[in-house]
Symmetry: C2
Amino acid sequence: MAQIKPRTLSGFMELLPARQVQFDRMVEILRKSYSLYGFTPLDTPAIEAAEVLLAKGGGETEKQIYRFTKGDTDLALRFDLTVPLAKYVALHQNELAFPFRRFQISKVYRGERAQKGRYREFYQADIDVIGDGSLDITNEAEIPSIIYKTFTALGLRRFKIRVNNRKVLNGLFAILGLEKQAGDVMRTIDKLEKIGPEKVRAILTDDFAVPGEAADALLALLAAGDPMAALEPFKGKNELFDLGVAELETVVRYMSAFGVPEDHFMVDLTIARGLDYYTGTVYETVMLDHPEVGSICSGGRYDNLSEYYTDKKLPGVGISIGLTRLFSVLEAQGYLNDALVTAPADVLILPMTEELSPAISFATALRDAGVRAQLHCEKKKFKQKLSYADKLSIPYAAFLGEDEIQQNKVTVKDLTTGQQQTVTAGEAVALVQAGLAARAGGTPIQEPEA
Amino acid sequence: MAQIKPRTLSGFMELLPARQVQFDRMVEILRKSYSLYGFTPLDTPAIEAAEVLLAKGGGETEKQIYRFTKGDTDLALRFDLTVPLAKYVALHQNELAFPFRRFQISKVYRGERAQKGRYREFYQADIDVIGDGSLDITNEAEIPSIIYKTFTALGLRRFKIRVNNRKVLNGLFAILGLEKQAGDVMRTIDKLEKIGPEKVRAILTDDFAVPGEAADALLALLAAGDPMAALEPFKGKNELFDLGVAELETVVRYMSAFGVPEDHFMVDLTIARGLDYYTGTVYETVMLDHPEVGSICSGGRYDNLSEYYTDKKLPGVGISIGLTRLFSVLEAQGYLNDALVTAPADVLILPMTEELSPAISFATALRDAGVRAQLHCEKKKFKQKLSYADKLSIPYAAFLGEDEIQQNKVTVKDLTTGQQQTVTAGEAVALVQAGLAARAGGTPIQEPEA
């Protein structure tokens, strides 16, 4: 038969089983963590009408989107989870209760040039709170605690949540007379960490006609050890600025009530997160030992989620984790905790007689007790079956030979320690359960010892 | 601003929040149930190279597939989970341990004409066991128990698993001299339930030149109250038939050890499941009160999963649940258990003072204890906030007014009973936990009382 070479497209993550278990465990923790904060799961279609997805249109999106026709219909694959959310909320606005808090962990599609760390199909894990006309600042204050609790639950410790407020930035630009160049200035100060203050100053003054004084004031502010104190002198000069500072103060004030330790949180006035979408608090999250990865969880407050679909004003705040990319970073850095069970089963049952009923009954007893069991009845040598268990890191093997069956017992072997005991089925179930409980715990991410 | 009408494509299921929770709960149970049998999760890309997906080619698949180009690449969306599995196993054969047991619960895409109950994007929930050259009959015997335990865990009771064996059918056709017409005969007897034995006999003899005697023998066999006994007289005449009967006997023999009650299982010699793929045991599952729905879980044994990609012989057995369609049937029939919590949060916290720290700390305490909590700090009237909780069916509200804060307490109200108590935060957490535990239990599917 003519055969086709099997392959998976480049830019598409396809994991081997043990890695997939690790990935799914992270997803499970995200779902749980988001749920604790009162977010409800959504699952919108991956395909939407192209005109719906491209309602905003323009730029990179149009180039990267997977767009195609089926029959007469112009279709496209979603490139993020925000646009489908905007559509969903506009479409179902009369059936939803506001504030509407949803999470969605789904694949999105971007036909970018494939390169290391870039995926064409990747998971985003998003949460958003959408208000009906207005949305209290508390929602913005709560986001860092969700980020903190989520990454901590995953097992990441050495990270920091950086927060800024777009009203502060925009107000500041107004105070310094830089409204015209606001976009250019923001893009330039965003590079501060990479290129340093001198180069930033040069670009600001030379390329964007920022007066030297304004550039110095800005750079001094951005370099301040205590940004909140450094903002004080600018108060009372611009309404937007004052409002932004008040919002930022509220966000900072409630951090400890929300359970975010001080060393995991900072105000960083250089963060802008793009030009035209966010209007209040903005967030980035960096791994302290891997700043080169960039932000692993970002987002912010916006004023008008669904403006392309409805006149209803729907302000919101949200964050997104690029999960596929994060997973590939964790894998590459050796941060995945390989000590957690990735085997497809807890017990591999090896029947050693022709009649299988006792082995099958034992498998049923294990499963009824919530223990994952696999029967291995293939015509293979005993040694091959044990090496199968070994290859899959299955924690226990159970043997049922004629002796065991006559005594109404089963021999259970702990494949890690090599210890084995011949006990009743009920005792075997309890023994395995106790062993599994002892192994449980531990988080999917484990940072290397410093 | 020019606006686009928000819409979701027809044939694409998009659920409201409470329904989505019910759907997700079913997925969660499927994952758990499949895991108990030692299946490992996979998640292959939704997009594959078109030549890979269409390696087998032909027929409805080519017409229905979503196919498009991006750059120079000819791409397509998967239309099932079997072809991606065949690719995966062929591609990763040296990294996998066989038998390879995987489950995948993912969306697939078929551009069919949209009609009631037909979806263009829908979830399949598949399990397969793939052997390396050979695969023991025990695997085929185990499948009905997985079907039984899975639907029982979902809460479905009134269903029956029907089993047949393709070797029996093909052997029988050989014995009756109907090898030439085997395909036509199979398609015709498949209609037995719908059109009755007389019409089937007429079609067999008139349209497909089946001798009257052979038709009578066949129909008598298919009508037999005890199919296994009815097969006896044909034994010893054809090797394939004898092998098939032996396999079927093995499958039946182990049912009780696998925990499948007799009334949930039957041998049905009319089941064929298509013409050219399955080679051994085949399965269908029907809802007793809704036979019109057809099979809700089907599959069978095949000999060569990846023949279009590799010379390696990979026999397997698998089943699939069309989850999106099943969910829509359950919804339409009123089978979804609306008594289970679908609210996004267990407790809605209503702070009644300017200073929010006590309310936030209480939210943090609840979440730390695993209770889903939402702060409602919007500037809305108290009554509006309670009606929000009501609309979302949130079980508890918690009030923190000045009195409560001064006493270091919180007032918790059970929104179902209307009872409220003012207690410490710790007591409140315990009280809510106990209440939630009492409400827990119950399955996502609840059949109406007979």
